[in-house]
């Protein structure tokens, strides 16, 4: 058979071509080039499936395809480095490929309904953006080294800028786009330093293989190898931790973790399908994916792991609390995204590699679903997003309602929807590993606390939107949506229900059914993969060992699951009591002062704005200094010489007898000088 891996570049390039086509010829194509995009993503999707199948067939692929800057050469000090592009296909990237291409495809289709049918202008630009966005993300997914990953990581950022700012004629979107790029850029600064540091330290940035930097780091740490360089006097462990944290900076930025999460809610200014793409499969997912990609490096440094876990747990809770008080549909979803990625970080920090990837997968589906659902609601509501103007849409938009409900149940983590399984596993991993690690345990507790909050705001959203009486005319008579909206919703809805089945770890543990933890086996290279990139390997070199509550493993599983499910139901119930009524009212007042804090997102935006202004003040000061002092000196020199000249010329009085006098004096002076030096007249 033909080798599927030969076509991996095509997966990336197809959307790229659609970008070119839409940009160049979109004006002349029907639907502004939408079909090109759909075809391209569909093609990529099929190819990805094929690739995944090949991996399942027991193969993997790690190949350098193109040397960016020339091979070899005495690169930096002692090290030889190569800057190259390549493709790394292992279970993880194969899975991610499928997810990304699928979501991208559905988003493209949905856009037909959301953009074209709504008569948006500038569609070619839109589809070009989508194409490039998808292409960059896919390039990032298949990257075989950190440099390439960084490059596409940045391109993803660019596309988010372009798409968030799609409605550039309005004031809001451009500023949101700027904020998104700037904040993530701030994170990427550390990432870039990290990349350079990796090159300096190991001389390579390959993810996989014996010469990859995780492998080298591992070898160096257990003394069987050494690294090319560490900065003056720093011991290896510390330095690797530093490098890990540097790279993490990029992750925190892109995956909207605390404190760099502020850009994401603003990013809602972008068209809803773009939000779906950003949140479910591309930009925000990139951060978490990066950690998973170089997990073999992170597990080597416990500090980093703990930090990741704690940041994740904190973000999960922190973002969830803010989601409670938002009035706009997409705002709620935005904070839920932040919170959910917090869970994934928690999982990664807690050594739950598989759990994280699992949640990444399920989240991709149900979050895409929720956003597209929100999109269809927004269509119906004529682009009014305020939930207090909605209500009672259940009967009028049945398809949207039920799919949205499925997604919400998944998000809230209600048995047996997809979200339940993944979130439960995360909490389980955090728990069992956290019992010996306070920081981690803290993360776990925060994650646990976030569960009811999540369920609460999710269903607050559902009830306010779909239940009760319509609270506005548009809600009474919403605009119907077409097949291109319902289609994607249905697909994702069913996925949101069933995806949990790919990883029935708790069931396996409790009932002892072997082999239904497909994802575990998949990521453990059971079918195919690359040495050193397996969950087992990570577990082996990882810092954690498991501890259990009463009843050993099974008991822990059951307790954990029960607790989290219970809490989720608690939150759901509360939401039901408060908002599932014919005409619900705001209860946020009960929160008192806390409410304002939550409304204003803990004033973090204000903080960042304040910082920005201080920076500008400094800049202004620098400018004054530059113009006044430095340039002043430069001009001063000339004016000084001119005044000097002015003095000198005054000698020339114009009166000839004075000339005679001066001339005589000059001569006499000369006489004296020479006479004195020569010692005449003695």
């Amino acid at each position: 058979m033909v080798n599927a891996f030969a076509y991996v570049p095509a997966i990336v390039l197809l959307p790229f071509f659609s970008f070119l086509v839409a940009l160049g010829a979109g004006r002349y194509l029907p639907k502004g080039g939408a079909f090109g995009g759909i075809a391209a993503t569909a093609g990529s999707f099929l190819l990805s499936i094929w690739v995944a199948a090949t991996v399942a067939g027991g193969q993997a692929y790690n190949e350098t395809l193109y040397y960016w800057a020339s091979e070899g050469g005495a690169g930096i000090g002692p090290t030889d480095i190569e800057l190259s592009f390549g493709v790394l296909i292992d279970p993880l990237s194969a899975l991610m490929l499928v997810i990304v291409t699928l979501v991208a495809l559905l988003v493209h289709v949905f856009s037909l309904g959301y953009m074209n049918d709504e008569g948006e202008t500038g569609l070619p630009r839109y589809y070009a953006g989508l194409g490039l966005f998808t292409a960059s993300m896919l390039g990032f997914v298949v990257a075989d080294n950190l440099l390439m990953a960084f490059m596409f990581f940045e391109l993803v950022g660019l596309c988010s800028y372009l798409l968030i700012g799609f409605h550039f004629r309005e004031p809001g979107p451009p500023s949101a786009a700027k904020k998104a790029f700037l904040v993530t850029r701030f994170g990427d600064y550390f990432f870039l330093v990290g990349v350079v540091a990796v090159f300096a330290t190991f001389g390579t940035a390959q993810f996989a293989g014996p010469e990859s930097f995780p492998a080298l780091a591992d070898a160096a740490l257990n003394g069987s190898g050494s690294v090319a360089w560490t900065p003056g006097g720093l011991d290896l462990g510390t330095w690797l931790t530093v490098v890990g944290l540097l790279v993490l900076g990029g992750v925190v930025g892109k995956s909207a973790q605390f404190p760099l999460h502020t850009w994401l809610p603003d990013a809602m200014e972008g068209p809803t399908p773009v939000s779906a793409l950003i949140h479910a499969a591309t930009m925000v997912a990139a951060g978490v994916y990066l950690v998973a990609r170089m997990y073999g490096f992170y597990v080597l440094t416990p500090t980093t792991m703990a930090v990741i876990a704690f940041v994740g747990g904190f973000t999960a809770l922190f973002a969830a609390t803010m989601g409670v008080v938002k009035d706009e549909l997409k705002q709620v979803l935005a904070y839920s995204t932040i919170s959910q990625y917090g869970y994934m970080m928690l999982a990664l920090g807690a050594g739950g590699y598989v759990a994280a990837v699992f949640h990444l997968t399920t989240h991709a589906f149900f979050k895409a679903l929720l956003f597209l659902g929100a999109g269809s609601v927004i269509i119906a509501m004529h682009h009014n997003e305020d939930m207090w103007d909605m209500g009672g849409l259940k009967s009028r938009l049945p398809v949207t309602y039920y799919t949205f409900l499925a997604g919400s149940l998944a998000l809230a983590g209600i048995f047996p929807f997809a979200g339940f399984w993944s979130k439960d596993e995360i909490l389980y991993e955090a728990l069992v590993h956290g019992l010996n690690d306070p920081l981690l345990l803290g993360g776990y507790l925060m994650g646990l606390l976030a569960v009811p909050v999540t369920a609460f705001y999710t269903f607050r959203m559902v009830f306010l939107t779909f239940h009760g009486e319509p609270r506005s005319d548009t809600a009474r008579d919403p605009e119907p949506v077409g097949w291109n909206v319902k289609g994607p919703l249905t697909v994702l809805g069913s996925l949101a229900v069933v995806t949990g089945l790919i990883n029935m770890v708790p069931v396996q543990k409790v009932l002892g059914l072997e082999g239904i933890d497909l994802l575990h086996r998949w990521l453990d290279n059971e079918w195919g993969g690359i040495e050193g990139l397996s969950s087992h390997h990570y577990a082996d070199i990882g810092p954690y060992n498991s501890g259990y509550l009463v009843g050993g493993e099974v008991g822990t599983v059951l307790v954990g699951a029960a607790v989290s499910l219970g809490l989720a139901l608690l939150g759901l119930g509360l939401a039901r009591r408060l908002y599932d009524v014919p005409s619900p009212t705001e209860h946020t007042a009960k929160l008192g002062g806390v409410k304002d804090v939550l409304y204003n997102n803990y004033y973090l935006d204000e903080l960042q704005v304040w910082l920005a202004h201080r920076t500008e003040d400094i800049a202004g000061g620098a400018d004054t200094f530059d113009q006044g002092i430095i340039d002043g000196v430069v001009n001063g020199v000339s004016s000084v010489s001119l005044t000097g000249g002015g003095r000198i010329r005054k000698l020339q009085s114009g009166v000839v007898s004075q000339y005679a006098a001066l001339l005589t004096f000059g001569l006499v002076a000369l006489l004296l000088v020479l006479g004195a030096t020569g010692g005449w007249f003695l």
């Binding site: 040397y67 960016w68 800057a69 020339s70 050469g73 005495a74 690169g75 930096i76 000090g77 002692p78 090290t79 480095i81 800057l83 440099l147 960084f150 490059m151 596409f152 940045e154 391109l155 660019l158 700012g165 550039f168 004629r169 309005e170 004031p171 979107p173 451009p174 500023s175 700027k178 790029f181 700037l182 850029r185 701030f186 600064y189 870039l192 330093v193 350079v196 540091a197 090159f199 300096a200 330290t201 090319a228 360089w229 900065p231 920005a612 920076t615 500008e616 400094i618 800049a619 202004g620 620098a622 400018d623 530059d626 113009q627 430095i630 340039d631 430069v634 001009n635 000339s638």
Partner: protein
């Protein structure tokens, strides 16, 4: 003799255009300027020389003809290229035709003189990069200033005269300082060199032929010469705090002049720094490594902060050039193959990108007649293509991967972080790298307030898209930037080849 042919083409072209009528001077100049470009492409494709021209590497397309005797040393017409000068040579021939195109719209008076001066400047610029004899080089180096003086002074903005004279006198004073510095080296070499050929001088110094002069010990002379030349070039680059002529010159200069000023003239400074200070006196350089690196980092951050404070688009780009040049200095001082190679590559990359930025701002200015951030908004609504390219260029400036700027900066960073020759290299590098955040800050803010949002601009005419011959050069530049970003090896390979001997010049203890 092909180098001579190309320079002659530009020179004769200049004379022809001077005499041509204004109506078609622009077209004629453009057509003529394509000749050196085509030629330089063939030079590039046929380039096989390896090593550094100054340090005994083979010199491509070399010619050497004795000219006259100065104090027992021969001055000769000695030109040739190596991996460092060729890319800059190509950059020049590439930028000039585009700059000429970009002049068609704005320049409406004395066209023939304008284009004549452009070509005359090109001839001298090519000379600067090709010359391998100090006197010849210096003649070209100074001759470049004259046309630029006129370009700014005649076709410039309101305060053009002030800017022109400031530029002229300031840079000339600097050249004088540099001249003195270099001459003291030559004197200190005494009879061990029989000519002003740079390779001979460089190798003589490398061979330790410096001897005491006026009772000053050789190492002292070398140090003084290094400082004099460094200061001299620092003005040209420019390095903070010798940069204040640049914003004035840029803001007042007409667009095409700005393009060449930022694109090529600034590179003369860094190129000279590399050729003279860092190639000839590596030991002094490594002694002064820390202060120089500090200056570089200050240039990066301080320049970026200044750009952040500006309201005039051109000033913004001008100050960000100061910032970018700081990266180049950092790359040079670390004395690693990637550092110096990256610095040289960054010269080319920044040449293209800043050229693109100035050109695009110029195109917008043609339509709006203002460059003030406050005066306009939502230009994207009226000039979609131009703005699109401008945005792309801006991201290139921010170091977006797969564009030339990122390649240059990344090479520099990779080369500098672990540089053995520079103490505290990691700290310096990390500090300098923070520039990529600030640059994003001010460029994005400027774009947001001028290009996006609802369209605002008080004019008594309606603003429409730019003409084809305005946009075409932008597109070409953007394409070049992307190509270089995707395949930096187009130049980087030969650059590294020529940079390696320089690196080997400095011995790192420990």
């Amino acid at each position: 003799m092909i180098l001579e042919a190309l320079m002659a083409a530009a020179f004769v072209g200049a004379l022809t255009v001077f005499l041509a009528p204004d109506e078609w001077a622009g077209r004629l100049a453009f057509a003529i300027s394509l000749i050196p470009f085509a030629g330089s492409l063939s030079l590039w494709s046929g380039f096989e020389a390896g090593g550094n021209a100054l340090l005994g590497g083979e010199i491509a397309y070399a010619t050497r003809i004795e000219w006259l005797e100065v104090g027992g040393r021969s001055v000769s017409w000695f030109v040739g290229l190596d991996g460092i000068s060729l890319p800059l040579f190509v950059l020049t021939t590439f930028l000039v035709p585009l700059a000429i195109l970009s002049a068609w719209t704005p320049v409406d008076t004395r066209q023939s003189q304008f284009y004549g001066l452009m070509l005359f400047m090109e001839a001298n610029l090519l000379g600067v990069f090709a010359a391998l004899d100090f006197f010849l080089w210096f003649v070209f180096w100074e001759a470049v200033l004259v046309p630029m003086y006129f370009l700014i002074g005649i076709w410039g903005g309101p305060r053009r005269k002030y800017a022109a004279i400031k530029f002229f006198v300031y840079t000339n004073a600097a050249s004088l300082l540099m001249f003195i510095g270099f001459m003291s080296l030559v004197f200190a070499l005494g009879d061990s060199v029989s000519s002003f050929a740079l390779p001979e001088i460089a190798q003589a110094i490398a061979a330790g032929d410096l001897s005491a002069w006026f009772g000053i010990p050789p190492d002292r002379i070398a140090m003084v010469a290094f400082l004099a030349m460094f200061l001299g070039f620092a003005v040209k680059v420019p390095i903070v705090p010798f940069h204040t002529w640049l914003p004035d010159a840029h803001v007042q200069a007409p667009t095409p002049a700005s393009v060449l000023l930022a694109g090529v003239l600034l590179k003369m400074g860094t190129y000279a720094l590399l050729r003279f200070n860092f190639t000839m006196l590596p030991e002094q350089a490594s002694i002064l490594a820390v202060p120089i690196a500090a200056v570089a980092v200050v240039s990066v951050i301080y320049g970026a902060m200044l750009a952040l404070a500006q309201k005039d688009l051109k000033r913004i780009v001008a100050y960000s050039s100061v910032s970018s040049m700081g990266y180049v200095i950092l790359g040079l001082i670390v004395f690693t193959e990637y550092g110096i190679g990256g610095a040289t590559f960054q010269m080319v990359a920044h040449g293209l990108i800043s050229g693109l930025m100035f050109m695009a701002v110029g195109v917008i200015y043609n339509a709006t007649h203002t460059r003030m951030v406050g005066d306009m908004a939502g230009m994207a609504d009226r000039m979609p293509v131009t703005v699109g390219i401008l945005v792309a260029g801006a991201f290139g400036y921010m170091g977006l991967p797969l564009m030339a700027g990122f390649a240059g900066e990344f090479f520099i960073f990779v080369g500098s972080l672990s540089a053995p020759a520079l103490p505290y290299a990691p700290a310096f590098t990390a500090l300098a790298m923070f520039g990529i955040v600030i640059v994003a800050g001010y460029l994005l803010s400027a774009m947001q307030s001028t290009l996006f949002g609802p369209f605002e601009l008080e004019t008594d005419y309606d603003v429409g898209p730019a003409a084809f011959h305005d946009v075409a050069p932008l597109a070409v530049l953007l394409a070049a930037i992307i190509v270089l970003g995707v395949a930096p090896d187009i130049f980087f390979e030969m650059i590294r080849d020529a940079a390696l001997p320089v690196v080997e010049g400095v011995t790192v203890d420990g």
